[in-house]
Symmetry: C2
């Protein structure tokens, strides 16, 4: 929740600016409007032969569960550069990014996931700061009941299905929280 203007330090007011339709944090002292927008999470499915690289999370949320290497995209990088950077940071894995494969919106947490297919360029991966453990798994070794996120499960399911068919088809969609 924005309380102060990060440009001049004055207290902001929360109102709909002229010509807008949503409530924003507006600084009446210097005129800055503080927009808040969804964040992009970029990652990849690193593949070496038959095996896929997974990382066991050393951070919350979902500490101790398995994920594909992914993280928040940074300013001044492209989505594919960000995806390669995350593989390096989380698993000391050098990858060659291929096509964009899955794009999921998670409107309830204002995030968009963008996951690429990727070639893992070497076998000697190791955990980065945000991973407890990393491993290369065959299809039958995937820990389906210990995956961290729905987007990981969906991406792996599509990937395995497409690999069997021999044709990779990009997917996009929305992931909403389960109904209570």
């Amino acid at each position: 929740m924005i309380k102060f203007c990060n440009s001049c330090g004055a207290t902001v007011t929360h109102r709909i600016p002229e010509g807008d339709s949503l409530i924003r944090a507006v600084c009446d002292q210097c005129g800055t409007i503080h927009y808040q927008n969804p964040k992009i999470v970029v990652g990849c499915v690193p593949v070496l032969g038959e095996r896929i690289l997974l990382c066991k999370r050393a951070i919350e949320p979902r500490y101790g569960l398995w994920t594909l290497p992914a993280g928040f995209m940074e300013n001044n990088e492209s989505a594919s550069q960000g995806a390669a950077r995350e593989a390096l940071e989380e698993a000391n894995a050098r990858v060659e990014i291929e096509d964009l494969y899955t794009v999921y919106s998670l409107p309830n947490i204002s995030q968009v996931y963008m996951l690429f297919r990727a070639k893992l360029l070497h076998e000697d991966v190791s955990p980065g700061l945000e991973s407890l453990e990393v491993k290369l798994v065959r299809e039958e070794e995937i820990p389906w009941d210990q995956l961290a996120f729905t987007m990981v499960r969906k991406t792996l399911e599509h990937f395995l299905e497409d690999r069997r068919r021999g044709v990779f088809v990009p997917r996009f969609g929305d992931i909403l929280p389960p109904l209570r």
Copy 2:
């Protein structure tokens, strides 16, 4: 440039937080780290029969040039919802969003464009607040020398090519500024 903490109002320092690798605006008073991340622009190619909906910009940048309806994605909406909302806001156009079609990273301005194919559901479109004029154009009527953005030109080129072939293939890539 962030100078003050928007949570407690204290002056921030710019340094690399522990466990991070990039300089962030850090509040030493309340501990908040102010991350800055790329923004997503969502839009669509609204099609009615042979014609495509274009909008003449009433705002900077590129005032007076032609674009596809698109704008910043908002929190708590999905990418496809945002794309439909922008068509309504900019051209009073109701659309049915189809597949994700082009995804472009613009790292120099820290934006990612996500454009969908869409069915325009009616003919009576009209300019919203951010448009001077809107029109439905056939291929030969596209104002190629008056398009606002590279991503618009690329998306229209791919769309027309794919329509001729009868197969729409999603594209992704990076758009960098011209070399000087």
